[in-house]
């Protein structure tokens, strides 16, 4: 049972990708297959959650070679949560794709790549092997690069090139780190590494090598000062792709940061903590200021992704169960709010034909449904209670103050104000301001198209999840606190992988 549960999240998308390749000419069949795939992944995510609910860490040794010799797949609460979240994002993005991706993109492999991307994400969340993690990062990188460039407009290619070059650089740094770690500890299994790196004579060397992982995953997560690839590229592809990336890619980087620094490099935290806090602070501030300078819907959102990553890194930097819990909560909230917002940007584009704020307007008057969806997602992002974003902010503040990191908490709260500022900028321009020209003649027709309805569904899902995560913050945090405790004390994880009893 565990064996299947851990491998299927990778196998299912791969097989669906292969199926989609067989039916490239039939866009609707491909879309249906992709939605079905994501639905199955949600089911698998739920099943994983059920199995690990009582803090059981489940493990499978691929090809039956005992750890650390083969490749181990592992799921603790953190992994299971991430799998489920990613599946939800994938599902919604698949629905949105079905309504918006044209025949040509479908013919040139949009859906197979979409599924392969999901495979990579799932693999990254479930693997217990450092090199295997690298492999999944590659899967992610290549498939996302192609999705980004698919369509071949000049803007898209420029964004995609920056994306792929910087991320390849990160991969090289990651791979170097893997090699060095293997050189020091002679193993690639993460649980085994956790044990053996502790015994490496020169602790300082471990610390130094850990910095490579910080940079490598930092690029993936888009932290200061290596986030440039994200705002350079996210506004260029079709909205379906932006939305999918906003929900998944950087979060994999954050996952890797949390996993590696809570498990492998947990011994010597003082220096890492300093670095992480600085990184977190600068990421928040530069990201949100970047957003303030923009006047295009998706560019604003892109910079906000960066800013919000800072909060997640901040949660990690405390190295406390509550800090981890807050970070994960923030990840989840952000996946929902940000993906939702990208979809809203697509809805407004469909209605009014632009992403430029100055060419938008009047949505509050003419499209109450889009207005409500934006309001819920945007103000959740801005941390308005009782929406989800507030509790993320609150939990981080609480975790930070308890750990007596006053300044970073202050920074994070101040950044919240700027977040609100740029969300209200979109609000005032696209929703409140009267539409600058004659409303498109077919506006009401477009508003009632069946395609529009399908496009709206995912936004509704995310808005509802944002509300639900706030209202049901109690049970959510109850779960996340346990996930946080597992991360803070990885002995259960290690024992599950290597066999034997927890220390």
């Amino acid at each position: 049972m565990d064996d299947a549960l851990l491998i299927l999240p990778m196998l299912v998308p791969l097989l669906f990708a292969c199926l989609a390749i067989a039916v490239l000419r039939w866009r609707h069949v491909q879309a249906a297959l992709t939605i079905l795939n994501a639905a199955i992944l949600i089911g698998l995510g739920i099943a994983l959650m059920v199995v690990v609910w009582d803090e059981r860490v489940i493990v499978t040794q691929v090809a039956d070679w005992p750890a650390p010799f083969g490749i181990t797949l592992v799921a603790d609460l953190f992994s299971a949560i991430m799998v489920l979240l990613a599946a939800i994002v994938g599902f919604s993005a698949a629905i949105y794709s079905a309504a918006t991706i044209d025949d040509r993109r479908a013919l040139y492999g949009y859906y197979p790549l979409f599924n392969i991307l999901l495979m990579g994400v799932m693999g990254a969340f479930l693997t217990g092997d450092l090199f295997n993690l690298y492999v999944w990062f590659e899967v992610l990188l290549i498939s996302s690069f192609v999705l980004l460039g698919l369509g071949g407009t000049r803007a898209q290619m420029e964004g995609a090139i920056k994306y792929v070059v910087l991320n390849l650089l990160s991969s090289i740094i990651f791979l170097t780190g893997v090699g060095l770690v293997y050189g020091m500890a002679g193993t690639l299994n993460m649980a085994d590494l956790a044990v053996r790196l502790r015994d490496v004579e020169d602790e300082g060397l471990v610390l130094v090598v850990s910095m490579l992982f910080l940079v490598a995953f930092g690029v993936k997560a888009a932290v200061f000062p290596v986030f440039s690839w994200l705002p350079a590229s996210y506004h260029t592809p079709p909205v379906a792709v932006s939305a999918l990336f906003a929900g998944l890619l950087t979060k994999v980087g954050v996952y890797a940061l949390i996993r590696v620094f809570s498990l492998l490099f947990a011994e010597d935290q003082a220096h890492v903590q300093d670095v992480l806090i600085w990184v977190a602070g600068f990421t928040m501030v530069t990201g949100v200021l970047g957003a303030a300078a923009q006047n295009e819907f998706r560019r604003i959102l892109s910079f906000h992704i960066v800013s919000q990553i800072g909060y997640m890194v901040m949660g990690l930097a405390f190295f406390t169960p509550l800090g981890y819990a807050a970070a994960i909560y923030f990840v989840a909230h952000n996946m929902f709010a940000k993906t939702g917002l990208f979809i809203v940007s697509g809805l407004s584009h469909r209605l009014l034909g632009s992403f430029e704020l100055k060419k938008l307007g009047g949505l509050a008057k003419h499209s109450p449904e889009v207005t409500l969806l934006f309001f819920l997602c945007a103000f959740s992002l801005a941390g308005l209670p009782p929406l989800a974003g507030f509790f993320g902010k609150f939990a981080l503040a609480r975790a930070g103050f308890e750990a007596e990191h006053y300044i970073i908490v202050g920074v994070s709260l101040a950044v919240g104000l700027f977040t609100m500022y740029s969300m209200t900028k979109i609000w005032a321009e696209a929703f409140w301001k009267p539409y600058p020209a004659e409303l498109p003649g077919d506006f009401q027709v477009r508003r009632r198209q069946p395609g529009m309805l399908v496009m709206t569904i995912p936004a509704v899902i995310f808005a509802a999840l944002g509300v639900a995560m706030g209202v049901a913050a109690g049970p959510v945090f109850e779960l996340l606190e346990r996930a946080g405790e597992q991360l803070a004390d990885p002995s259960g994880y290690i024992a599950a992988v290597l066999g034997g009893e927890p220390e």
Partner: protein
Amino acid sequence: MTSSTILKTTSLLLVTLFLIFSFFLLWRGHDEPGGGFAGGLVASSAFALYTIAFGAVGARQNLVIDSRLLIGVGMALAAISGIPSLLLGDAFATGRWADVEIADREIHIGTPLLFDIGVYLAVLGVVVTIVFALAEEED
């Protein structure tokens, strides 16, 4: 691309040799240097050569199957090779072996070979897809 008769004739010969060699590499990979990856690369070199000699259209026809579909088939085969053990209650891709008698010789084959064939096909599909696309750009 220029294509002289000499090039065409020699390349046909070479293509055949390359393909045979690639099967050989695939087959013996488990024990000697070789394997699905190397085999796939050699096989695709054959098609690359053929493309250079005869153009992409002809090469495509000779491949029989659409090159992108070949990638899919290869990946699917590689993935599926691990499923039997899963169904039998073991971990994914746990090796299953059987002794098969072919032409009076006892041969030890198992799911890893199936996996390697998948790799072979996928690699072949990958390289020829790119080669064809590039070559068709030329035309």
